[in-house]
């Protein structure tokens, strides 16, 4: 790798890496909504504030409760594509890490099933009548479940990189060799999920505040808007904090990397992405700071934050692959993708992708026009 990732690589490998990174970003976008959203819900349930307000006057919590099951469904569905392409790119590493973790890895599925159903329970109207400890327990269980899944993925990923440790890990049945990289990496993703969730949530709040029909009848229109502004400020604070923690933990993680790996990040393959990532974080911080000071919605800044966040995620995903490729057998990965490229079916995928994207657009259009019925 001597040029900007993924362009310095063989074209077939570059192609699969691009497809993988793009599909991964879509998955991550939805996944962060679920991860940070569940943490937000747990917090909002445990600490409702001095002014204990009815559920309908917590717009963000209401939105999250309503949309989390769909977001999880979307995250799982979106996760299928990167899960497919990781098997083309890093088959041996991915499979071996799965096998070394064994039942600990397989626990991801039942935990997700439980969390999924609990999200539906939290969404139900009956839950507001339940006692405070039960509600707290529910919300915390969901957040802990998603944190566990994040922990498993991080462990799996780090284990897949450390090929030399595999035999010993198999013998000892341990899952983690080095605790610090795991903690820093996990913290980077968890903290980074808050600003991303805040973007989706902010757009949802923006859409919701425009519809007066959502307003609680007992609250005046002015107070109603003030509630939204308060939520917006909270989101901005959480996002800035999340970005800060993510950057610090990311730097700590970088320190744990071997020098040859770190040099790839600061060299030709990684430097442009590093700069894009830094710029993305800077723009997001500025955008949220602006929100915080102005204390109202500004679609222009929200658009800037969204674009910056997408840039940051693509940069983070690219840097992640640079780290992985630096530790993989590049010849094997290149030959593997070259052979995969000889397998037919890509035209079928392109044709149906176009058709199905159009059909998804049509579905959304039908739903958006529903008020005219």
């Amino acid at each position: 790798m001597d040029r900007m990732f993924p362009f310095g690589l063989e074209s077939d490998l570059s192609f699969y890496l691009i497809v993988y990174v793009l599909t991964l970003v879509v998955h991550v976008f939805l996944m962060t909504y679920v991860l940070a959203g569940s943490a937000w819900l747990a917090w909002a349930t445990m600490f409702p504030g001095r002014d204990v307000l009815p559920l309908t006057t917590q717009p963000l919590a209401m939105i999250l409760r309503d949309w989390m099951p769909f977001a999880l469904s979307g995250a799982i569905t979106a996760g299928v594509a990167p899960l497919l392409f990781v098997q083309i790119l890093y088959r041996q590493q991915f499979y071996t890490a799965n096998l070394l973790l064994g039942w600990r890895w397989m626990m991801v599925i039942p935990v997700l099933v439980i969390a999924f159903y609990l999200l539906y329970v939290i969404k139900s109207k009956a839950v507001s009548r339940w006692s405070f400890p039960v509600r707290c327990g529910l919300a915390m269980s969901v957040a802990a479940s998603f944190l566990f899944v994040a922990f498993c993925w991080t462990t799996n990923h780090l284990l897949s990189l450390d090929q030399a440790a595999w035999p010993e890990m198999y013998r000892s049945r341990r899952a983690i060799d080095a605790i610090m990289p795991l903690c820093f990496r996990l913290l980077t993703w968890v903290a980074g999920s808050f600003p991303t969730m805040s973007i989706l949530a902010s757009w949802q709040l923006w859409g919701m505040r425009r519809c007066d029909e959502n307003r609680e009848p007992s609250i005046s229109a002015v107070d109603w808007l003030a509630l939204y502004d308060r939520e917006d400020r909270r989101l901005a604070k959480v996002s800035v904090t999340g970005l800060l923690v993510a950057v610090i933990s990311c730097l700590c993680y970088a320190i744990t990397l071997k020098s040859n790996v770190a040099s790839q990040l600061t060299g030709n393959p990684g430097l442009p992405w590093l700069l894009i990532g830094i710029a993305g974080v800077a723009f997001q911080t500025i955008g949220w700071w602006f929100h915080l000071r102005k204390a109202c919605f500004c679609t222009l800044w929200l658009t800037v934050i969204t674009v910056a966040s997408l840039g940051t995620l693509i940069a983070a995903a690219s840097l992640r692959e640079i780290i992985r490729l630096s530790q993989a057998n590049l010849i094997q990965v290149t030959e593997s993708t070259r052979a995969a490229a000889d397998v037919g079916g890509f035209a079928v995928f392109v044709i149906f992708s176009i058709i199905n994207t159009a059909l998804i657009g049509w579905c959304l259009r039908m739903v958006m026009n529903r008020h005219r019925v």
Partner: protein, 539 residues
């Protein structure tokens, strides 16, 4: 720019896989004491990690599931997922039908049913169905990473295409779920139709990949993804599964009808009779089942139809349960002689689960000794690797130690444990289910040596032993050590005469599986070949 070129080239050339030149491959088989080099058979083109290689497939760590054989773990997840996924596919068709009934005024309560049924569909299929789908992928990796790797490698664009339908399924489904009360009937029907088509198309795509495992057909020669996808088992399997989907959805529909509140018995009866319409295609099941059996390889069909008692038993369970459901549907629901209450519907659904489980067991089992016919044995060893492993040893390069190695008495037994793990553990345990220790209990050492050396002849659904004579002897000693309740010391040494016998038996048995009969042909392309060329004759 080169990436752009790659994309354009890939779209324009939807492409068959490149068949490698002879110099790249050169696969050696031995059969009945004679050595063959396979120049023309595409089996020689096998890849691992896409590399036409000199090296062997990598060795993955193997997990021990205690008394459960890994196949059972796989079966549990697979059967649950297949059941739920088929419910989702059939559910889409059923909902479209009921929406149409409601719109055309043919059923007063159809709309109530649609709303109630979709909730069940979302809560069961969207959650459990989707997650067990991911779960089956993870489980496949746990049980046979090489098999799932082979499937993903050869059909990743087909799988990616299926994924686009998953996306459509989720979006159209949730759009209906969230907004159906605010949408016109026509829009609801459109969304449900999109959902049903997307769900059925996901069956369409995965069916091609799954049926390829047993009947790869012309793919073996061409390596064309379309030849592999539209394989001999594709259409009978697809049509059969579609009927199963419709039947399951109708049975669950009967349960839903019984739990919808505020309905009179006559209303329930009417809805149940309408749901039963989706069970009528069951009449075609015998024909489709026969077609599917006909598409199977001779040996696989033979096992299902009596060659293997276990497979025959599960086949009969599947047929019997289907007959019971079909009979009830025909007499009770179509001719309206019987009412079906919630308990009966649940019982019929359990029967359907039994039929699904039996059918899936037969489908999985009939592939033996392969997981992908002629491509990959059940133990993740490739047919073309057997000869090399016989010479080189199957665990020589195994980097993973035996867990609790210190509890094993000596190096020979340790090697035996490794051989067991590499070659047997995917289908057998040592002392749990399908236990090797029990299966070989009555064999003396020489019987054991010969039966394992000639494994594919001892049991035609077993793959050939793929290790050296020394490894086979180590395996025999490991089994004997277990037979003797794992003593702390084990003084037996490897007898050179035993090794000689084992080698003789291994040579006699050859390296090909029971169903693969090489045919001698003259290789016109490579007349300089110093051994006979062959193509495989696939039974």
């Amino acid at each position: 720019m080169s990436i752009l070129n790659t994309i354009v080239a890939r779209v324009l050339h939807s492409g068959n896989r490149r068949i490698p030149q002879v110099a790249e491959t050169g696969m050696v088989y031995s059969h009945q004491g004679e050595v063959y080099r396979c120049f023309d058979a595409p089996l020689a083109a096998h890849t691992f990690d896409g590399v036409f290689r000199d090296a062997m497939s990598p060795i993955y760590p193997v997990n021990d599931y205690g008394p459960l054989m890994p196949g059972l773990v796989m079966a549990a997840v697979a059967i649950l997922h297949v059941f739920l996924a088929q419910f989702a596919v059939g559910g889409g068709i059923l909902l479209c039908y009921f929406q149409w009934l409601a719109m055309t005024g043919r059923s007063q309560n159809a709309r109530t049913f649609v709303h109630g049924y979709f909730k069940v569909l979302v809560l069961i299929s969207f959650v459990l169905g989707a997650l067990t789908g991911v779960g089956i992928w993870f489980t496949s990796i746990q049980i046979s990473a090489a098999t799932i790797g082979e499937m993903v490698f050869n059909f990743h664009w087909i799988w990616a295409t299926e994924w686009t339908f998953f996306c459509l399924e989720v979006v159209s489904g949730y759009c209906f779920y969230r907004y159906h009360r605010q949408l016109s009937d026509r829009t609801c029907l459109t969304l449900l139709t999109l959902y049903a088509v997307a769900a059925w198309m996901s069956l369409f795509w995965i069916n091609g990949i799954l049926s390829w495992q047993l009947t790869p057909g012309d793919w073996l020669m061409t390596h064309s993804v379309m030849d592999g996808f539209f394989n001999p088992g594709f259409w009978p399997s697809l049509l059969f599964r579609t009927i199963v989907c419709m039947t399951l959805s109708a049975l669950i529909g009967c349960i839903v009808v019984n739990i919808i509140p505020n309905l009179e018995r006559a209303d329930r009866q009417e809805l149940i009779n309408k749901a039963a319409h989706l069970m009528m295609p069951m009449l075609a099941m015998p024909i489709l089942g026969a077609w599917y059996l006909y598409s199977m390889p001779d040996d696989s069909r033979g096992w299902v139809l009596g060659g293997s008692p276990a497979m025959m038993l599960f086949f009969m369970i599947s047929v019997g349960a289907s007959l019971a459901i079909g009979g009830y549907a025909l007499i009770g629901l179509w001719f309206q002689k019987l009412y079906i209450n919630g308990a009966t519907a649940t019982l019929l659904l359990l029967l359907a689960f039994g039929a699904t489980a039996g059918g899936e067991f037969v489908r999985e089992g009939s592939r033996k000794p392969y997981t992908v016919r002629y491509v990959l044995f059940s133990n993740a060893i490739r047919p073309e690797e057997v000869a090399t492993l016989r010479a080189h040893g199957s665990v020589t390069d195994d980097p993973f130690p035996v867990i609790h190695e210190t509890q094993l008495p000596n190096e020979t037994v340790t090697v035996g444990a490794k051989v067991f793990r590499r070659q047997c553990a995917v289908c057998h345990t040592m002392e749990g289910s399908n236990a090797v220790a029990h299966l070989t209990e009555s064999w003396d050492a020489d019987q054991m040596r010969m039966n394992i050396a000639k494994l594919q002849q001892t049991k035609p659904f077993m793959p050939p032993f793929a290790g050296s004579a020394g490894e086979l002897e180590s395996l025999v000693q490991y089994i004997q050590w277990v037979h003797q309740r794992r003593p702390e010391t084990w003084d037996k040494t490897i007898d050179p005469q035993a090794i000689e016998h084992i080698q003789k038996w291994l040579d006699e048995a050859g390296t090909v599986a029971a169903g693969f009969i090489p045919q001698r042909i003259q290789s016109t392309a490579h007349p300089q070949a110093d051994v006979r060329s062959t193509v495989g004759s696939f039974q």
